[in-house]
Amino acid sequence: MKGKIKFVQGNEACVEAAMYAGLDFFAGYPITPSTEIAEHLSYRLPQQGGKFLQMEDEIASMCAIIGASLTGHKVMTATSGPGFSLMQEALGYAVMAEIPAVIVNVQRGGPSTGNPTHVSQGDVNQARWGTHGDHAIITLTASSHQDLFDITVDAFNLAETYRTPVILLLDEVIGHMREKLVIPEDGEIPLVKRLRTSLKEGVDYHPYFPREDGRIPMSDFGGVHRYNVTGLYHDMWGFPSDNPRLVHDLIRHLVDKIQNDRHIITRCNQYHLDDARTILIAYGSAARSAHHVVETSRREGQRVGLLELKTLWPFPSGLIREKCAKARTIIVVEMNMGQVLAGVKQAVDNPESVFLANRIDGVLIKPVDITRIMRLIQGRGV
């Protein structure tokens, strides 16, 4: 890959990728450990003709990006756990009204204000079920700056493709550490443009009337078409409705448009899986420690592999079942009490073969933490 080489924090890699993807509106309320995203965008966006807004809180930030997205902009906000909690109501609105947006949550320890400057992966389930009601959501993550760049561009593309908010679930270690990033040339990663209606001014536009392929073209709000947007169940004109058939169809649509395409949305990295008897499943910064263990164990002749998840929601059950089919032992490495563990246990044929290697004390799980747990499981003692 050709391109400009930089040595940056993960938060800055996220900013560079968002700019690459065409971000032109950001509203946010800076919070550790995501602050550098707002900091860098506060000068990167105006340089490129975009808008940066520092809002009074995270509720307003989320509402502002929803509004800006409706008017045709590519939008993002960035926060951490406490702010992500505040965003949940408006996040549900974006799901219901089908508004593309990217929400970055650089995780810290929680609940509440928790452990602001330390690492955690405790918001995996919040990303899935933080907002109420049946719905589907896309949540992506990464463990290296190059992957973070790609997955951020992906987040914008998926948001447009599926008309949905996409959550980028990072963590403090990835956000703050610095490493090499190669910024791809323009055009190297394809970008998905907003699907806009071809209907001209004066022609009735139905904001929720799908094309034959199921996608629903948008019209820039405040432009040539007048239409209604609501968080209530709505008809193709966007007006509230409690018609049971319509309510049923809309909830099915919101869930199916993402769940049915989970094979397209699922992204992962695979290392030494082919003959692996023990498979580590990890994501985010914990995947770096797991990868360290895998490479070291391989040098010692152990058949250990790593399945690194980059899509957390929709949960990649099919991928996990397929890749772990021949493994004797599966160890989920994460920095929470087992939020991905639960999904892995459901996905595989033999849940008894699935173990948790975790740390929940704000310290990045060390390779030696994982090795000790591996040895215990293998009956070899620490």
């Binding site: 040595f7 270690v173 703050h176 550490m177 610095r178 490493e179 090499k180 770096r288 990868h291 990045l364």
Partner: protein
């Protein structure tokens, strides 16, 4: 190359974290190496013990933190007391004589130099203390080229500061000519 694991410690405001970023950035941008830099975030931004970890290697770096540094820099007594025990046996421990009185013997090459006082005497501006410390490290370990550091400095600061930065780097390299450990840096 052997993987280098560096830990820079001192007090918030001494510039240990910018120094760590400089050396890692020089390795990545100008020496075609891989590097990862991380730091302990906390209320230590001003005062208190600041710490930054750097790994430099020609292979991939997965786990980004340093557990046993083969180069440890301690620029305050507090940092020395807290961190000197983590050094890898046979590693290199660099301290500044103005701030640190070494007490315990660790199984490492201990280099104690009057970096701060030399900067004050020869340059007169303590702001380049950390750059001079980097010069010492380059002199001791040749971990990156002087010119790679100069290029990074040139990209971050106005041209007017290049002279004083170069002076500080070279002063550091001179300072350690007699202090070079007999064993090679690994």
């Amino acid at each position: 190359m052997e993987r280098s694991r560096l830990v820079f410690t001192g007090s918030g405001g001494q510039g240990v974290i910018p120094a760590a970023i400089l050396v890692a950035e020089a390795a990545v941008l100008h020496e075609n190496l891989n590097a990862v830099q991380s730091q302990v975030y906390g209320p230590a931004a001003r005062g208190g013990a600041a710490r930054s970890d750097v790994i430099i290697a020609d292979s991939k770096i997965y786990y980004p933190k340093v557990t046993e540094p083969n180069l440890l820099v301690c620029l305050t007594q507090e940092a020395y007391n807290k961190y000197s025990s983590i050094i890898r046996p046979g590693g290199l421990l660099l301290t500044d004589t103005k701030y640190v009185k070494t007490e315990r013997r660790v199984s490492a090459n201990q280099v104690e130099l009057p970096i701060y006082e030399t900067v004050l005497k020869k340059i007169g501006k303590p702001i380049v203390f950390n750059i001079c410390m980097l010069g010492v490290i380059i002199g001791l370990t040749e971990i990156v080229q002087t010119e790679s550091i100069m290029k990074v400095l040139g990209s971050k600061f106005p041209p007017a500061l290049q002279d004083i930065n170069r002076k500080a780097l070279e002063l550091g390299i001179e300072l350690c000519i007699d202090a070079r450990p007999n064993q090679p840096f690994t």
